[in-house]
Symmetry: C2
Subunit: 101 residues, 2 copies
DNA sequence: GATCTATGTAAGCACTGACTTACATAGATT
DNA sequence: AATCTATGTAAGTCAGTGCTTACATAGATC
């Protein structure tokens, strides 16, 4: 979860995620949307891929990227745990907490 | 949203959030749970408070902190937007995206 | 097969951020 | 009022990160 959270804590990487949310795009295509260097975007893509937030596919010369929403499941559950008023969840979280201390 | 995401992207701060999720705690009480210096925790609390993730209340000498789950609403919506298969959401997000480019 | 195209990797730099110790301050206690 | 207690703030250090330019490499094209 740490990797996912720090990955999406960056503005640029969230923009990249939006770009590949609905369609696969090549690294170059993605980079063309930004005014930083292409290697910078390549490095962001590595961070996103390492966190599992995007999947990579080779297509000849190019590398195609696409968002992988499964990667957000853990973070989603974490957020929901704090957000909801569901007593069962809160209780479970409380027990989890006391166990870990 | 940026502030909230980078705030919760830190392990220590997520632990602090868990500590004050169900009960109000003083800064010193919180700090006693960790093996870093008290000022370090004070600085983390400032980050969390600035992001709106905790509320602060003066009680005589002490400052009492408590998690504020409202702060997560924006992030929650962001995550849900990526997570769910809800077509309406996806469509709205796509339109939002094209408008912003 | 020489060259072009798309892309990742390496090395270095500037900035940020988490931590430390030292200090300041406001409220409680004696 | 002197002192203690709880806490924030200041200044400095060190590691991490986002960026750059230069280089490497694999696949496409001539």
């Amino acid at each position: 979860m740490q990797a996912v959270l720090s990955a999406i804590a960056d503005d640029r990487r969230r923009e990249i995620l939006r770009l590949v949310q609905f369609e696969e795009r090549s690294a170059g295509d993605i980079a063309s949307h930004f005014d930083v260097s292409r290697p910078a975007i390549s490095q962001h893509l590595t961070v996103l891929r390492t966190a599992g937030l995007v999947s990579e596919r080779r297509d000849g010369n190019r590398r195609m990227y696409r968002a992988n929403r499964e990667a957000l499941s853990e973070v989603r559950e974490y957020i929901e745990e704090f957000w909801t008023d569901n007593l069962a969840r809160l209780k479970a979280a409380a027990e989890k907490e006391s166990n870990e201390r």
